[in-house]
Protein backbone atom coordinates (compact mmCIF):
# COMPACT_ATOMS: atom_id res chain seq x y z
CA UNK A 1 0.00 0.00 0.00
CA UNK A 2 1.32 3.48 -0.79
CA UNK A 3 2.15 5.57 2.22
CA UNK A 4 1.39 9.24 2.65
CA UNK A 5 4.95 10.46 3.12
CA UNK A 6 4.38 14.18 3.12
CA UNK A 7 5.85 15.18 6.45
CA UNK A 8 9.14 16.87 5.56
CA UNK A 9 11.15 18.61 8.23
CA UNK A 10 11.49 21.65 5.96
CA UNK A 11 8.13 22.01 4.21
CA UNK A 12 7.96 24.47 1.30
CA UNK A 13 5.96 26.95 3.39
CA UNK A 14 8.96 27.38 5.73
CA UNK A 15 10.60 29.50 2.99
CA UNK A 16 7.93 32.19 3.38
CA UNK A 17 8.39 35.09 5.81
CA UNK A 18 7.21 34.25 9.33
CA UNK A 19 4.94 37.28 9.78
CA UNK A 20 1.48 36.19 8.56
CA UNK A 21 0.63 39.37 6.67
CA UNK A 22 4.02 39.24 4.92
CA UNK A 23 3.51 35.56 4.08
CA UNK A 24 0.29 36.38 2.27
CA UNK A 25 1.89 39.37 0.61
CA UNK A 26 4.86 37.26 -0.56
CA UNK A 27 2.60 34.62 -2.09
CA UNK A 28 0.32 37.17 -3.70
CA UNK A 29 3.33 39.01 -5.13
CA UNK A 30 5.07 36.04 -6.72
CA UNK A 31 1.83 34.59 -8.08
CA UNK A 32 0.86 37.95 -9.55
CA UNK A 33 4.28 38.48 -11.12
CA UNK A 34 3.99 35.09 -12.85
CA UNK A 35 0.52 35.91 -14.16
CA UNK A 36 -1.13 33.18 -12.06
CA UNK A 37 -3.46 35.42 -10.10
CA UNK A 38 -5.00 38.81 -10.77
CA UNK A 39 -5.20 41.17 -7.76
CA UNK A 40 -8.41 42.64 -9.18
CA UNK A 41 -9.99 39.18 -8.99
CA UNK A 42 -8.94 38.96 -5.34
CA UNK A 43 -10.66 42.29 -4.70
CA UNK A 44 -13.77 40.94 -6.39
CA UNK A 45 -13.78 37.76 -4.27
CA UNK A 46 -13.36 39.79 -1.06
CA UNK A 47 -16.09 42.24 -2.05
CA UNK A 48 -18.42 39.31 -2.77
CA UNK A 49 -18.05 37.84 0.73
CA UNK A 50 -17.87 41.16 2.55
CA UNK A 51 -20.84 42.78 0.89
CA UNK A 52 -22.97 40.48 -1.25
CA UNK A 53 -23.03 36.95 0.21
CA UNK A 54 -23.78 36.64 3.92
CA UNK A 55 -26.34 35.63 6.53
CA UNK A 56 -28.94 37.93 4.96
CA UNK A 57 -29.35 35.21 2.29
CA UNK A 58 -30.09 32.51 4.84
CA UNK A 59 -32.37 34.86 6.76
CA UNK A 60 -34.40 35.45 3.58
CA UNK A 61 -34.82 31.68 3.17
CA UNK A 62 -35.89 31.20 6.80
CA UNK A 63 -38.32 34.12 6.77
CA UNK A 64 -39.94 32.84 3.58
CA UNK A 65 -40.23 29.35 5.07
CA UNK A 66 -41.99 30.84 8.11
CA UNK A 67 -44.33 32.90 5.95
CA UNK A 68 -45.10 30.41 3.15
CA UNK A 69 -46.07 26.82 4.04
CA UNK A 70 -45.66 25.47 0.49
CA UNK A 71 -42.19 26.99 0.26
CA UNK A 72 -41.28 25.48 3.62
CA UNK A 73 -42.42 22.01 2.55
CA UNK A 74 -40.45 22.21 -0.70
CA UNK A 75 -37.36 23.53 1.12
CA UNK A 76 -37.35 20.72 3.68
CA UNK A 77 -38.05 18.10 1.02
CA UNK A 78 -35.30 19.11 -1.44
CA UNK A 79 -33.55 22.43 -0.77
CA UNK A 80 -31.25 22.62 -3.80
CA UNK A 81 -33.81 23.49 -6.52
CA UNK A 82 -35.53 25.94 -4.16
CA UNK A 83 -32.25 27.70 -3.32
CA UNK A 84 -31.17 27.69 -6.98
CA UNK A 85 -34.34 29.55 -7.86
CA UNK A 86 -33.40 32.22 -5.29
CA UNK A 87 -29.82 32.39 -6.63
CA UNK A 88 -28.43 31.07 -3.34
CA UNK A 89 -26.40 28.10 -4.52
CA UNK A 90 -22.72 27.94 -5.42
CA UNK A 91 -19.36 27.38 -3.84
CA UNK A 92 -19.56 25.57 -0.49
CA UNK A 93 -23.30 25.29 -0.86
CA UNK A 94 -23.59 22.93 -3.80
CA UNK A 95 -25.69 20.43 -1.82
CA UNK A 96 -27.81 21.83 1.00
CA UNK A 97 -30.10 20.12 3.49
CA UNK A 98 -32.34 22.29 5.69
CA UNK A 99 -33.12 20.84 9.13
CA UNK A 100 -36.06 22.09 11.13
CA UNK A 101 -36.12 22.87 14.83
CA UNK A 102 -39.22 21.76 16.71
CA UNK A 103 -40.18 21.72 20.40
CA UNK A 104 -38.95 18.09 20.40
CA UNK A 105 -35.65 18.55 18.56
CA UNK A 106 -33.00 21.26 18.33
CA UNK A 107 -30.46 21.07 15.49
CA UNK A 108 -26.92 22.41 15.60
CA UNK A 109 -24.17 22.32 12.93
CA UNK A 110 -20.41 21.86 13.26
CA UNK A 111 -17.47 20.68 11.18
CA UNK A 112 -15.11 18.80 13.49
CA UNK A 113 -12.55 18.03 10.75
CA UNK A 114 -12.18 21.51 9.21
CA UNK A 115 -14.65 24.40 8.80
CA UNK A 116 -17.37 23.31 6.34
CA UNK A 117 -20.19 25.87 6.32
CA UNK A 118 -22.94 26.91 3.86
CA UNK A 119 -21.22 29.91 2.25
CA UNK A 120 -23.96 30.96 -0.20
CA UNK A 121 -26.45 31.18 2.70
CA UNK A 122 -24.31 32.39 5.61
CA UNK A 123 -21.11 33.74 4.05
CA UNK A 124 -17.68 33.07 5.53
CA UNK A 125 -17.86 31.35 8.93
CA UNK A 126 -17.16 33.42 12.07
CA UNK A 127 -14.01 32.76 14.08
CA UNK A 128 -15.75 30.83 16.84
CA UNK A 129 -17.18 28.31 14.35
CA UNK A 130 -13.63 27.55 13.18
CA UNK A 131 -12.17 27.46 16.70
CA UNK A 132 -10.70 24.30 18.20
CA UNK A 133 -13.04 24.70 21.17
CA UNK A 134 -16.22 24.63 19.07
CA UNK A 135 -14.97 21.86 16.78
CA UNK A 136 -13.92 19.70 19.73
CA UNK A 137 -16.85 20.31 22.06
CA UNK A 138 -19.99 20.74 19.90
CA UNK A 139 -20.35 16.99 19.29
CA UNK A 140 -19.61 15.87 22.85
CA UNK A 141 -21.27 18.54 24.99
CA UNK A 142 -23.62 20.56 22.77
CA UNK A 143 -25.75 21.71 25.72
CA UNK A 144 -22.76 23.15 27.53
CA UNK A 145 -21.72 24.88 24.33
CA UNK A 146 -25.25 26.25 23.91
CA UNK A 147 -25.16 27.59 27.45
CA UNK A 148 -22.08 29.64 26.51
CA UNK A 149 -24.22 31.21 23.78
CA UNK A 150 -26.91 31.93 26.37
CA UNK A 151 -29.23 29.16 25.18
CA UNK A 152 -30.88 26.74 27.63
CA UNK A 153 -33.13 24.11 26.05
CA UNK A 154 -36.11 22.56 27.83
CA UNK A 155 -35.46 19.05 29.19
CA UNK A 156 -37.89 17.59 26.66
CA UNK A 157 -35.93 18.90 23.66
CA UNK A 158 -33.38 16.49 22.17
CA UNK A 159 -30.29 17.87 20.46
CA UNK A 160 -29.19 16.60 17.08
CA UNK A 161 -25.69 17.78 16.11
CA UNK A 162 -24.78 17.60 12.42
CA UNK A 163 -21.06 17.08 11.81
CA UNK A 164 -20.44 18.29 8.21
CA UNK A 165 -18.10 15.54 7.07
CA UNK A 166 -18.98 15.62 3.33
CA UNK A 167 -19.95 18.21 0.69
CA UNK A 168 -23.47 18.47 2.09
CA UNK A 169 -24.07 21.74 3.93
CA UNK A 170 -26.68 22.07 6.65
CA UNK A 171 -28.86 25.08 7.45
CA UNK A 172 -30.98 25.14 10.60
CA UNK A 173 -34.55 26.39 10.23
CA UNK A 174 -35.17 27.92 13.67
CA UNK A 175 -38.62 27.94 15.26
CA UNK A 176 -40.71 30.96 14.41
CA UNK A 177 -41.12 33.16 17.46
CA UNK A 178 -44.63 33.51 18.89
CA UNK A 179 -46.39 36.83 18.43
CA UNK A 180 -45.36 37.28 14.77
CA UNK A 181 -48.56 36.05 13.12
CA UNK A 182 -49.09 38.90 10.71
CA UNK A 183 -45.49 39.88 10.13
CA UNK A 184 -44.24 40.26 6.58
CA UNK A 185 -41.26 38.33 5.23
CA UNK A 186 -39.10 41.47 5.55
CA UNK A 187 -40.11 41.93 9.18
CA UNK A 188 -39.50 38.26 9.96
CA UNK A 189 -36.02 38.40 8.42
CA UNK A 190 -34.92 40.76 11.17
CA UNK A 191 -35.56 38.01 13.74
CA UNK A 192 -33.22 35.55 12.02
CA UNK A 193 -29.68 35.79 13.34
CA UNK A 194 -26.73 34.01 11.74
CA UNK A 195 -26.22 31.92 14.87
CA UNK A 196 -29.87 30.79 14.84
CA UNK A 197 -29.21 29.22 11.43
CA UNK A 198 -26.12 27.40 12.77
CA UNK A 199 -28.15 26.30 15.78
CA UNK A 200 -26.21 28.10 18.51
CA UNK A 201 -29.03 30.61 19.06
CA UNK A 202 -32.80 30.77 18.85
CA UNK A 203 -34.56 33.27 16.62
CA UNK A 204 -34.83 36.76 18.11
CA UNK A 205 -37.97 37.55 20.08
CA UNK A 206 -40.37 40.02 18.47
CA UNK A 207 -40.23 42.30 21.53
CA UNK A 208 -36.61 43.07 20.66
CA UNK A 209 -37.99 44.37 17.36
CA UNK A 210 -35.36 42.31 15.60
CA UNK A 211 -32.68 44.76 16.62
CA UNK A 212 -29.28 43.36 15.69
CA UNK A 213 -27.29 42.23 18.67
CA UNK A 214 -30.27 41.30 20.81
CA UNK A 215 -30.49 37.58 20.61
CA UNK A 216 -33.60 35.62 21.40
CA UNK A 217 -31.89 33.22 23.75
CA UNK A 218 -33.81 32.52 26.93
Amino acid sequence: MPHDTSDPQQPPHSHLPSDPSLRVKALETILTRKGLIDPAALDEIIDTYENRIGPQNGARVVARAWADAAFRTALLEDADPVLAQMGFNGRQGEHVVVVENTPERHNMVVCTLCSCYPWPLLGIPPGWYKSDAYRARAVREPRKVLSEFGVALPEGTAVRVWDSTAEVRYLVLPMRPAGTDHWSEDQLMRLVSRDSMIGTALARRPDTGGVAGQEGAE
Binding site: P2, S6, D38, I45, R91, H95, D163, A166
Partner: protein, 230 residues
Protein backbone atom coordinates in the same frame (compact mmCIF):
# COMPACT_ATOMS: atom_id res chain seq x y z
CA UNK B 1 -5.45 6.72 13.32
CA UNK B 2 -6.09 10.15 11.93
CA UNK B 3 -4.31 13.46 12.52
CA UNK B 4 -4.41 16.47 14.80
CA UNK B 5 -7.16 18.20 12.78
CA UNK B 6 -9.55 15.41 13.83
CA UNK B 7 -10.57 17.01 17.12
CA UNK B 8 -14.24 16.09 17.59
CA UNK B 9 -14.84 15.17 21.24
CA UNK B 10 -11.34 16.13 22.36
CA UNK B 11 -10.97 17.30 25.96
CA UNK B 12 -8.90 20.27 27.09
CA UNK B 13 -10.59 23.10 25.20
CA UNK B 14 -11.91 26.16 26.99
CA UNK B 15 -15.04 28.25 26.65
CA UNK B 16 -16.25 29.49 23.30
CA UNK B 17 -16.22 33.24 22.89
CA UNK B 18 -18.60 34.17 20.09
CA UNK B 19 -17.96 37.33 18.08
CA UNK B 20 -20.95 39.68 17.73
CA UNK B 21 -23.21 39.02 14.76
CA UNK B 22 -22.25 42.26 13.09
CA UNK B 23 -18.48 41.79 13.46
CA UNK B 24 -16.45 42.27 10.25
CA UNK B 25 -16.30 39.21 7.97
CA UNK B 26 -12.50 39.46 8.00
CA UNK B 27 -11.00 40.73 11.23
CA UNK B 28 -7.89 41.90 9.40
CA UNK B 29 -6.93 42.59 5.77
CA UNK B 30 -4.54 39.69 5.36
CA UNK B 31 -7.28 37.20 6.30
CA UNK B 32 -9.28 38.45 3.34
CA UNK B 33 -6.26 38.30 1.02
CA UNK B 34 -5.42 34.77 2.25
CA UNK B 35 -8.91 33.53 1.45
CA UNK B 36 -8.95 35.23 -1.94
CA UNK B 37 -5.47 34.01 -2.96
CA UNK B 38 -6.48 30.47 -2.02
CA UNK B 39 -9.68 30.61 -4.08
CA UNK B 40 -7.89 32.21 -7.03
CA UNK B 41 -5.19 29.49 -6.97
CA UNK B 42 -7.88 26.82 -6.85
CA UNK B 43 -9.09 28.15 -10.19
CA UNK B 44 -5.76 27.09 -11.74
CA UNK B 45 -7.13 23.54 -11.57
CA UNK B 46 -4.03 21.86 -10.19
CA UNK B 47 -5.75 20.18 -7.25
CA UNK B 48 -9.24 19.34 -5.99
CA UNK B 49 -10.99 20.29 -2.75
CA UNK B 50 -10.10 17.00 -1.07
CA UNK B 51 -6.42 17.45 -1.89
CA UNK B 52 -6.63 20.99 -0.58
CA UNK B 53 -8.19 19.85 2.72
CA UNK B 54 -5.60 17.12 3.01
CA UNK B 55 -2.81 19.67 2.46
CA UNK B 56 -3.97 21.51 5.61
CA UNK B 57 -4.26 18.27 7.57
CA UNK B 58 -0.76 17.23 6.48
CA UNK B 59 0.84 20.20 8.17
CA UNK B 60 2.92 18.91 11.04
CA UNK B 61 1.00 18.62 14.29
CA UNK B 62 3.17 21.40 15.72
CA UNK B 63 2.40 23.72 12.77
CA UNK B 64 -1.31 22.84 12.76
CA UNK B 65 -1.53 23.76 16.42
CA UNK B 66 0.72 26.82 16.27
CA UNK B 67 -0.71 28.47 13.16
CA UNK B 68 -3.95 30.44 13.15
CA UNK B 69 -6.75 29.52 10.75
CA UNK B 70 -5.68 31.52 7.69
CA UNK B 71 -2.00 30.88 8.41
CA UNK B 72 -2.80 27.19 7.96
CA UNK B 73 -4.45 28.03 4.65
CA UNK B 74 -1.34 29.91 3.48
CA UNK B 75 1.06 27.18 4.63
CA UNK B 76 -0.95 24.46 2.91
CA UNK B 77 -1.30 26.57 -0.24
CA UNK B 78 2.45 27.21 -0.42
CA UNK B 79 3.10 23.47 -0.01
CA UNK B 80 0.55 22.55 -2.68
CA UNK B 81 1.93 25.08 -5.16
CA UNK B 82 5.39 23.56 -4.83
CA UNK B 83 4.26 19.92 -4.69
CA UNK B 84 2.17 20.34 -7.83
CA UNK B 85 5.03 22.03 -9.65
CA UNK B 86 3.31 25.41 -10.02
CA UNK B 87 6.04 27.24 -8.06
CA UNK B 88 9.58 26.30 -7.00
CA UNK B 89 10.76 26.53 -3.41
CA UNK B 90 13.04 29.44 -4.35
CA UNK B 91 10.00 31.37 -5.62
CA UNK B 92 8.67 31.43 -2.07
CA UNK B 93 11.83 33.08 -0.81
CA UNK B 94 11.76 35.79 -3.50
CA UNK B 95 12.21 39.31 -2.20
CA UNK B 96 9.29 41.59 -2.82
CA UNK B 97 9.16 43.17 -6.23
CA UNK B 98 9.86 46.87 -6.54
CA UNK B 99 9.48 49.30 -9.43
CA UNK B 100 12.93 48.26 -10.63
CA UNK B 101 12.36 44.50 -10.46
CA UNK B 102 12.42 43.05 -13.96
CA UNK B 103 9.16 41.45 -15.06
CA UNK B 104 8.98 37.66 -14.90
CA UNK B 105 8.01 35.54 -17.89
CA UNK B 106 4.36 34.51 -17.79
CA UNK B 107 3.77 31.09 -16.23
CA UNK B 108 2.46 28.32 -18.54
CA UNK B 109 -0.69 28.25 -16.39
CA UNK B 110 -1.26 32.00 -16.75
CA UNK B 111 -3.97 31.29 -19.34
CA UNK B 112 -6.03 29.84 -16.47
CA UNK B 113 -5.66 32.94 -14.28
CA UNK B 114 -8.96 33.95 -12.67
CA UNK B 115 -9.93 37.46 -13.78
CA UNK B 116 -12.47 39.68 -12.01
CA UNK B 117 -15.16 39.34 -14.67
CA UNK B 118 -15.21 35.54 -14.15
CA UNK B 119 -15.36 35.59 -10.33
CA UNK B 120 -19.15 35.71 -9.94
CA UNK B 121 -19.65 32.82 -12.36
CA UNK B 122 -16.92 30.69 -10.76
CA UNK B 123 -18.30 31.20 -7.24
CA UNK B 124 -21.87 30.54 -8.37
CA UNK B 125 -20.87 27.34 -10.17
CA UNK B 126 -18.98 25.95 -7.19
CA UNK B 127 -17.86 22.34 -7.38
CA UNK B 128 -20.75 19.89 -7.11
CA UNK B 129 -19.74 16.50 -5.68
CA UNK B 130 -22.70 14.39 -6.85
CA UNK B 131 -21.84 11.90 -9.59
CA UNK B 132 -23.34 8.94 -11.38
CA UNK B 133 -21.93 5.81 -9.83
CA UNK B 134 -21.64 2.09 -10.59
CA UNK B 135 -21.82 1.39 -6.86
CA UNK B 136 -25.35 0.42 -5.83
CA UNK B 137 -26.59 1.65 -2.44
CA UNK B 138 -26.20 -1.12 0.10
CA UNK B 139 -28.28 0.56 2.83
CA UNK B 140 -31.64 2.25 3.17
CA UNK B 141 -32.93 4.80 5.69
CA UNK B 142 -33.67 2.98 8.94
CA UNK B 143 -30.92 0.37 8.48
CA UNK B 144 -28.51 -0.20 11.37
CA UNK B 145 -24.87 0.19 10.37
CA UNK B 146 -21.45 0.01 12.02
CA UNK B 147 -18.52 2.25 11.06
CA UNK B 148 -15.11 0.77 10.43
CA UNK B 149 -11.85 1.88 12.02
CA UNK B 150 -11.05 5.44 10.88
CA UNK B 151 -8.24 5.15 8.33
CA UNK B 152 -7.76 5.61 4.62
CA UNK B 153 -7.83 2.08 3.17
CA UNK B 154 -6.13 3.09 -0.10
CA UNK B 155 -3.21 5.16 1.19
CA UNK B 156 -1.63 4.47 4.56
CA UNK B 157 -1.95 7.66 6.60
CA UNK B 158 -4.05 9.26 3.87
CA UNK B 159 -7.07 11.55 3.94
CA UNK B 160 -10.37 10.32 5.34
CA UNK B 161 -13.60 11.97 6.45
CA UNK B 162 -14.51 9.40 9.09
CA UNK B 163 -13.63 11.17 12.36
CA UNK B 164 -11.93 9.16 15.08
CA UNK B 165 -14.77 9.69 17.56
CA UNK B 166 -17.25 7.98 15.21
CA UNK B 167 -15.11 4.95 14.39
CA UNK B 168 -16.31 1.43 15.27
CA UNK B 169 -19.69 2.82 16.34
CA UNK B 170 -23.21 1.65 15.62
CA UNK B 171 -25.79 4.00 14.18
CA UNK B 172 -28.83 4.26 11.94
CA UNK B 173 -29.08 5.50 8.36
CA UNK B 174 -31.22 8.65 8.23
CA UNK B 175 -31.01 9.42 4.52
CA UNK B 176 -29.20 8.61 1.30
CA UNK B 177 -27.62 11.72 -0.29
CA UNK B 178 -26.94 10.02 -3.63
CA UNK B 179 -23.46 9.16 -4.88
CA UNK B 180 -20.68 11.61 -4.03
CA UNK B 181 -16.99 11.87 -4.93
CA UNK B 182 -15.02 9.74 -2.44
CA UNK B 183 -12.45 11.96 -0.66
CA UNK B 184 -10.23 9.05 0.43
CA UNK B 185 -9.47 8.44 -3.25
CA UNK B 186 -9.85 11.91 -4.75
CA UNK B 187 -7.48 13.60 -2.26
CA UNK B 188 -4.69 11.37 -3.55
CA UNK B 189 -5.42 11.83 -7.27
CA UNK B 190 -6.65 8.25 -7.49
CA UNK B 191 -9.88 9.21 -9.19
CA UNK B 192 -13.24 10.45 -7.93
CA UNK B 193 -14.49 6.90 -7.23
CA UNK B 194 -18.04 8.11 -6.42
CA UNK B 195 -20.14 5.97 -4.12
CA UNK B 196 -23.30 6.30 -2.02
CA UNK B 197 -23.16 8.83 0.81
CA UNK B 198 -25.47 8.58 3.82
CA UNK B 199 -26.42 10.72 6.79
CA UNK B 200 -26.00 8.35 9.73
CA UNK B 201 -27.31 9.10 13.22
CA UNK B 202 -25.53 7.95 16.36
CA UNK B 203 -26.97 8.13 19.86
CA UNK B 204 -24.72 10.43 21.90
CA UNK B 205 -24.62 7.63 24.47
CA UNK B 206 -23.05 5.29 21.91
CA UNK B 207 -20.23 7.78 21.23
CA UNK B 208 -19.45 9.28 24.64
CA UNK B 209 -18.88 7.82 28.07
CA UNK B 210 -20.85 10.65 29.66
CA UNK B 211 -23.46 11.90 27.20
CA UNK B 212 -25.35 15.01 28.28
CA UNK B 213 -28.84 13.70 27.56
CA UNK B 214 -30.24 10.24 26.72
CA UNK B 215 -32.03 11.44 23.57
CA UNK B 216 -29.24 13.51 22.04
CA UNK B 217 -27.72 12.40 18.73
CA UNK B 218 -24.83 13.20 16.41
CA UNK B 219 -25.31 12.85 12.66
CA UNK B 220 -22.40 12.42 10.25
CA UNK B 221 -22.27 12.14 6.46
CA UNK B 222 -20.50 8.86 5.74
CA UNK B 223 -19.56 7.06 2.53
CA UNK B 224 -20.63 3.47 1.97
CA UNK B 225 -17.01 2.27 2.25
CA UNK B 226 -16.97 3.50 5.86
CA UNK B 227 -19.97 1.31 6.78
CA UNK B 228 -20.92 -2.30 7.26
CA UNK B 229 -24.26 -3.81 8.28
CA UNK B 230 -24.75 -3.91 12.07
Amino acid sequence: MTRVHDMGGRFGEGRITPEAEGAPVFSTDWHARALAVTLACGALGQWNIDGSRHARERLSAADYTRLSYYEKWMAALANLLVEQGVLREEDLAQPFATEETPALPQHPLAARCLHPEAVAQVLAAGGPAVRDSQVAPQFRPGDRVRTRRPANTLVNGGHTRLPAYAGCAEGQVLRLHGSHVFPDSNAHDRGEAPEPLYAVSFAAQSLWAHAEHPRDEVVLDLWQSYLEPA
